[in-house]
Symmetry: D2
Subunit: 341 residues, 4 copies
């Protein structure tokens, strides 16, 4: 599996929190062509602790210092969402290629400002819609692409968290659609390979009155229409008590595809009560560990090869646009049409 | 499994076609408490052939003669939909208890006329929404009733035929929603145990241009809102090339339930190409054979016990009302609100 | 599914116990070409009760009266094992074709006496090794026959009862190998399509000291060598607390096959504790219901067509011979060679 | 997942081949507490290439130089089997703790010589029976230990390679039992938690006449008796055309356990032909990747904590002793008794 390391990409990481740590470890242990040369975080202790763990030599409190480092070819932006656009603009100005966690921003105008800066600077940009790299979902996409199931007619996506996030997180998340559904909206576009022309959403508070009091929902269903004629539904819940549930199912003219969850082991136990398995992998860090590594590697390979990474800034923007349409549909009680360029 | 046959119900069957044959055989071989004493069909040859096969002694061309038979306690109406209401009115007048295949009619006024006649006569009525008796779906309902999954939050129903019906059938079917989705709408009410307050439907022609030319659709997605707060989606296709696909999935506050298809055997074959199973049971006569037998037996037991059968005439009416709402939603492009009494 | 009933076979049933009832009901409801004309049982009440339930007109205490009935073409022998040979000899003398439950007898000399009588009389004989008709195991055999898995290399059979039989049953059963393993030994011959040349058996008492005190075992493993070069293992237990467990698994030069148990429904429930299914079908009357019906129908069709039924008397004898070899191997602690003609 | 790296173990690796590379990468990327300081291999180029890939600074042609390094606390012996004993003796003399790939040797006297040296020197020793660390098999063992299935009655192990190894490998492998079955014999001891008292083996050549010509077999079945009364069967094949097949199944007094293979994705595709999955993970490097990492980490943690590692030298010796008993049973055609201390 080890590839030749003839060419190396020096990467600077901005953000040493949960996702930043994940990126640092992926870059250190899973991407032979990458070299993390510096980590910046306003919390310098976090940056230093992570740097020590991953054998990184330089740390900064201010990301601008990292952008000034001429050795660094690419920046990984793993900071809170509200800082993405600013860092992207600065990094583009510094001529650094960019990997940015999703969502780019919670506001389309801000997204456009960041994407414009990237375009003008001519740097490469990949958005962290990591699920596209999950081996199971990639295999589904491959089966669509190679015609195994023919034209796509119907898609259903199940996406359920094991438990609601902390209220503080919810309050800055942009709401269920922008925080959680955005992954499923991107997955729908990725799997079907067509643009959404209509979004209808219903949502309720069934799990956490706190979330309701904060003006958000915790349970939702969406119905999408695609330009190619396909129809899709998405179901979201902030709490499936048995664990993280991430599945898709497609029907096409020549066949169907369904996916199962991943489990920590392949053991079935039969007793006088039931035939049972242990619960599925508990949450996204575990379930999508492989996708984070493959996504990070793909970015590095794209930059080293000088080819446009995928998913692109446009993919990131589209996912947000659909999430906002879902919010509007819920507010109005009617389907929302999406203009397709 | 054999029950004491101390009391016997004499049943008259109207309709000797595909579904009528299925009822006759269920009554003869699977319902020890029933005795089929006569079969009526405008096609007398069909009635006679079926009677011979099932050891039934009397046959009639005109169902009225059968209604005049004082030995007969209950009538099974397995004729084309457009004759149901008329036969129900006549049977009610004759004081016969009634089992009627779904849908009662394609028009709510006609349904109401038939249900009124039944109510006034005080005869018992069961509607042939057979899937409620399928052991798998019954088990799902039981898990909802006993609280295993807590309050229902989300429901998804997959209902796909193996191939489109003949065009002649489609033309008199009342459309996809009244012919096919009606089962799923009833299943949604049955499983959730609450009334639907809003229906949004999208439908397209993806499989059969012929069906499109006849003014119908072959592919659909619906999004339902329930009075209890649950949300549901239904997906329908007239053609899943791998066979009949009938599944449901629920998420509740305390857990989730999903169901699988039934297969003709439990064999898995692994070769150099794939790990594979044979296709699922091919269509409804096979897949729902058990449900037809259990449904027929439940009707006979209810009549012998003098208790109201289930699903009731109201259940039959509700399923049609929701199917009509789906049709209206598709036409208007908007969700349709349903009044709940 | 209903076949033309141009020709009918009049069948007489000897034995109105649990298995006799099962045969009577299969003949009455599942085999259109059969007509049960009489039932004989030393316990006349049992015969009469069963006759009433299945619409059979004549009953006898003495099976000889039944054999004297010139209307009867075939006899179904569903009596205790120790009476089989005697009834077979008498029925053969009366020129009746024979269906006989397994095992033919517990003694090879007695089996040979019965088979000789059948051969001399030229009547047809089928042995009730019903599992060969189970749709799952038939599908496995078909995949072997059509070359899907190539030459058979390895076979593993799992056969576990849900609970030990009553001690009174065990005492007259001929021991685990002749009562329980005999089915698996026949299945091994059926699936591999070759003769066994060596049997090695190990057995212990792990479940029921009572069974041990009666001189029998409740837990066993066998290792078989086949003439074609295949190797097989069989595992038996009198008690799998989760229910009846009946599976096989083959490896061949071009692939492998494995089978799963049958379940009462296709429901999976996920809660905070586990992902679980209900227990498999509880015992043989339920699990093998279909095989009993198909086996009975196959016998009737063979007799009506005048072709030798399968499994044959030789198959019944072989299964017993291998069970006896297993007993000898357990006693001696060594493999036992089997002469192949 | 990252643990504090307060204490670090300096490890020297002997052997830079396929397994050596796997160890080096596990130590570099998956075991934070380990530091690979040197790699020795008679093929110095291999040592250097691996060292470069894993950031290791020192390489040697002669392992004795590595043993002379006072910084090194533990040695990982990943060389060909016939060199293990010699290296173990030398490493023990140098006071180094030892991780040794299985089998220790192909000869019990040689194993004893090596284990004696280890014992006398008082160094810690772990044998590379990696499958004990596989999350699925560990979960099985846990269920046995916590009483979930009660006393173990029956065990069946399926162990099939995707294709035969090269003939050159076979010729120095010690034969199927010492090379392949040895893992399953260890697994049987590990899962049951009792000693084997009798081994009966049958083996044939069904796949590769070349292997037969070399005096080895490619297909085998074994039947084991345990001191605790459990019985076990093992099936081995050098070629399952659908891929690597590694499963176990236990029956106990309170329940049963079965395990499934691991797949590269969780996708099921249904077309007009079949319902199918991709083939299971193709071979041991992929299937057992996690077990190699966990095993290596466990060794390092044991040495740092100063506690005896597991599996021990005795476990390694026992597995070989049983493999030799299987060979003797095949030769004699009789079960072989094993003395239990």
């Amino acid at each position: 599996m080890t590839v030749p390391v003839d060419s190396l990409l020096n990467v600077g990481l901005v953000g040493a929190g949960r996702i930043g740590s994940l990126r640092a470890e992926a870059l250190a242990h899973r991407v032979p062509q990458a070299n993390v040369v510096a980590i910046a975080d306003a919390n310098l202790d976090a940056a230093e602790s992570l740097a020590k763990r991953c054998g990184v030599l330089r740390t900064y409190r201010d990301y601008q210092e990292l952008l000034d480092d001429p050795d660094i070819g690419a920046i990984c932006v793993s900071t809170p969402t509200n800082t993405h656009a600013e860092i992207m603009v600065a990094a583009a100005a510094a001529g650094k290629h960019l990997f940015v966690e999703k969502p780019v921003a919670l506001d389309l105008a801000e997204v456009d400002r960041a994407l414009d800066a990237v375009d003008r600077a001519g740097v490469l940009l990949q958005i962290g819609l990591n699920r596209r790299f999950d081996p199971t979902f990639r295999r589904v996409r491959q089966a669509v692409l190679d015609g195994t199931i023919g034209d796509v007619h119907l898609l259903h996506i199940i996406s359920r968290d094991p438990a609601p996030p902390p209220l503080a997180y919810v309050q800055h998340s942009g709401g269920l659609f922008a925080d959680m559904t955005i992954h499923d909206l991107d997955m729908a576009r990725f799997l079907v390979g067509s643009e959404v022309t209509s979004v209808y959403a219903q949502g309720t508070v069934r799990i956490s009155p706190e979330i309701g009091a904060a003006g958000d929902i915790d349970t939702a269903m969406l119905l999408l229409v695609f330009q190619c004629g396909a129809l899709a539904t998405i179901e979201n819940s902030r709490q499936a008590v048995y664990g993280y549930d991430q599945r898709v199912e497609l029907l096409g003219s020549r066949g169907g595809i369904s996916t199962g969850n991943m489990f920590p082991n392949e053991v079935t136990i039969s007793t006088a009560d039931a035939v049972r398995r242990d619960l599925p992998m508990c949450f996204f860090l575990e379930r999508y560990a492989e996708s984070y590594a493959l996504e990070t590697r793909s970015f590095v390979e794209s930059v080293l090869a000088g080819r446009p990474p995928s998913p692109s800034g446009v993919d990131g923007r589209k996912a947000l646009e659909l999430a906002i349409a879902a919010r509007d549909s819920l507010a109005s009680g009617k389907p929302v049409a999406i203009a397709v360029g």
